[in-house]
């Protein structure tokens, strides 16, 4: 277990509310952004965050310290977000699409965007491919793991990811073009 969090975790195991608040203050900010990436609204993100931290505090005794505390909490938040969205996930088409090759050539044009602008772009993605994009591109899950988590085929995961990537690149290209025309 990370020595810096050892006492904090032990206090949380004893249901010490002050320690729980301290842990919340340490990780809630990052986890809130994570929730905003998966949720379709701010309200839903708050609900997921609340539910996640309650799970964290109720299960903190299971944290063995074999992984980083932040990573352990992140996995709980991701799983909670997926559970929250699971019913709504399949309202959107989740079928294989043709492989979309990244030949748009605008890969490096959005290097100066801040996370809030990128978050805004993600939130405009269709729900199904937004989740897969989040899992694969940002949270580091492989397609095999995503397929298992969401109960879909690996091919579907890959194609949905490609679709998300294409939509994002188009979005960025469009933004760049607008900026360029404004500048001109």
């Amino acid at each position: 277990m990370e020595s810096e969090y050892r006492e904090l975790v032990e206090s949380c195991v004893r249901d010490d509310r002050k320690a729980q608040r301290e842990m919340y203050d340490l990780f809630a900010g990052k986890m809130y952004v994570l929730c905003l990436r998966y949720a379709i609204s701010q309200q839903e993100a708050e609900d997921v965050l609340q539910e996640s931290f309650i799970k964290v505090f109720k299960n903190i005794k299971k944290f063995r310290g074999d992984s980083r505390l932040g990573y352990w909490i992140k996995r709980i938040v991701v799983n909670t977000a997926l559970n929250h969205r699971r019913n709504k996930l399949y309202m959107y088409p989740m079928v294989d699409v043709d492989e979309i090759h990244q030949n748009v050539g605008h890969d490096k044009v959005f290097s100066d965007y801040g996370y809030e602008e990128l978050l805004s772009m993600i939130s405009e993605l269709p729900s199904g491919c937004r989740i897969i994009f989040n899992l694969y591109a940002i949270d580091g899950y492989g397609h095999k793991e995503i397929a298992k988590k969401l109960g879909i085929s690996e091919g579907t995961s890959k194609s949905q990811y490609s679709r998300a990537k294409m939509l994002l690149q188009k979005k960025i290209s469009g933004e760049q073009l607008k900026d360029y025309e404004k500048f001109k």
């Binding site: 004893r14 990052k30 994570l34 309650i54 990244q102 890969d107 290097s111 694969y136 940002i138």
Partner: protein, 488 residues
């Protein structure tokens, strides 16, 4: 390859963009988390209380069930309790001399014949006569009913006169009774032995309970030898033991209201004159302290002595040390800036300080609020089941002598605060409890008894002083484990 590089760059960019992204969530999120965690704690406590309630209810049901079983068993097992009990009729009574029956009056015979023919209920005449008819001897006269068992054991002792036990043989089969009666009472006939299978009978509860057998020669009741001594006085049984109990102690505080403090209106001084704070600053514009209390697991241990005083009644007394835990919640604390001492804002904390004190608000401060008592109980018990496995219902009262109240914050944010027995204490030096319990015991090696005793204890008087703003009548569900030694 290029495509692969593009992908890696693409994902790396997004991952990096969000790696340290952070945004403060609204405060309402923590408030909801805090409320839900507090709710689940309360739910946990409630579950524990429910466990003890069910335990108490189950033990009462068990006691009632075993009580009914015990009563039913005792009523039917009359061979050891009732004055009308069975005996065996020997097979070798075939030589019973009919002369022995010649003293029977004609009236008696008629009466018995009618009775045997028309009723299931045997009269005391039948009982006396049946025994008398079985008298084996050459005297021809017997002034007491004979014990048929003795006859069978001593078939040749024809001259002995035997004194009947309480127990008199009764033939339950009407035909057999009639045959036996006819043969035994008709002059010149011999009594025929009754089959052993029907010789021993149970007397049903509907049968009329006979009085003493009657000596038909002298028309006076026959007093069996041990009849008067049937209800033997039991010797006083003393016992001493150790006990340990655990349970949920709920202080049941009532009254009071949330305390509010602000620099403009320090209402606390009018409400809580016991506090002598020289200078007070309220950290925020206003501080509101909500306090609440939850039951928690408590335990006690002690010694007890008792005696079986009469029949199934026992008395028990002793002395125990009780450590009763509760959880106190508050949302504010005092801080002495001169020495950095901190104490919770609770109504039972009579904080006194001459320095500058600051009152601060914080979320979810939780304290172990522990009461220590010396308990002197006295209980009366009724033994429902008195076997190796035994069951006793107890009721009683106890005096709880207050020793100390300690308020400790779980992670040592605040200093430990104590209320002792002094005049400043908000708690009475002594208060009284009433209790009900059921003890299930098991006797080992004749002298030792292990027992489990679930019960409920409730205050008969408040354990807080009248001057204190809160009133508390504590109650507790508990489970007592005991080991006692019975002196016999």
């Amino acid at each position: 390859m290029k495509s692969s590089n593009n992908r890696q760059w693409f994902e790396a960019y997004w991952e990096k963009a969000f790696r340290n992204a952070s945004k403060k969530p609204p405060d309402a999120v923590w408030d909801k988390i805090n409320a839900e965690l507090a709710g689940s704690e309360i739910s946990g406590y409630k579950k524990r209380i429910v466990f003890f309630k069910w335990l108490a209810a189950a033990s009462v049901l068990l006691a009632v069930g075993m009580g009914f079983y015990s009563l039913y068993y005792d009523r039917n097992n009359l061979n050891s309790e009732s004055p009308v009990v069975q005996t065996n009729i020997a097979d070798d009574t075939d030589k019973m001399d009919s002369k022995a029956n010649t003293f029977q009056s004609e009236d008696n015979r008629k009466s018995r014949t009618e009775d045997l023919a028309g009723k299931e209920v045997l009269s005391q005449h039948d009982i006396a006569l049946n025994a008398t008819e079985m008298t084996k001897g050459n005297t021809g006269i017997s002034d007491v009913p004979m014990n048929a068992e003795l006859l069978s054991e001593k078939p040749n002792n024809t001259s002995s006169r035997y004194v009947a036990e309480n127990d008199v043989a009764i033939a339950h089969n009407r035909n057999n009774r009639s045959d036996a009666y006819d043969q035994a009472t008709m002059p010149g006939s011999h009594m025929t032995a009754l089959p052993e299978s029907i010789a021993t009978i149970w007397v049903s509860s509907s049968m009329k309970k006979p009085d003493l057998p009657v000596d038909y020669m002298y028309k006076r009741p026959v007093v069996p030898v041990n009849f008067k001594n049937k209800k033997k006085k039991q010797p006083l049984q003393l016992y001493a033991g150790l006990n340990f109990s655990t349970g949920m102690f709920d202080p049941n505080f009532e009254g009071g209201s949330p305390e509010s403090f602000n620099n403009a209106d320090l209402a606390m001084f009018s409400s809580y004159s016991a506090r002598t704070l020289n200078t007070v600053n309220v950290a925020d514009d206003a501080v509101i302290s909500n306090e609440s209390y939850l039951p928690d697991i408590s335990y006690s241990y002690g010694i007890n002595m008792g005696a079986r005083v009469a029949g199934r009644w026992v008395l028990r007394g002793g002395v125990s040390y009780i450590k009763a835990n509760t959880i106190a919640n508050t949302s504010a604390y005092y801080q002495d800036n001169s020495n950095n001492e901190k104490y919770p804002v609770l109504k039972s904390v009579n904080y006194q300080n001459d320095g500058v004190v600051e009152i601060r608000q914080t979320e979810g401060l939780q304290f172990d609020n522990t009461f220590e008592f010396a308990s002197v109980p006295i209980k009366a018990g009724y033994i429902v089941l008195d076997k190796k496995l035994n069951l006793t219902l107890f009721g009683g009262v106890s005096s709880e002598f207050f020793l100390k109240n300690t308020i400790t914050q779980k992670n040592d944010l605040t200093n430990v605060y104590e209320n002792d027995r002094g005049s400043e204490s908000p708690y009475r030096p002594v208060y009284f409890n009433g209790s009900l319990s059921t003890a299930l015991g098991y006797t080992i090696a004749g002298h030792y008894r292990l027992s489990v005793e679930p019960g409920y204890r409730m205050a008969l008087s408040s354990f807080t002083k009248d001057s204190f703003v809160l009133t508390g009548r504590p109650d507790a569900f508990y489970l007592n484990f005991g080991l006692s030694y019975w002196f016999k």
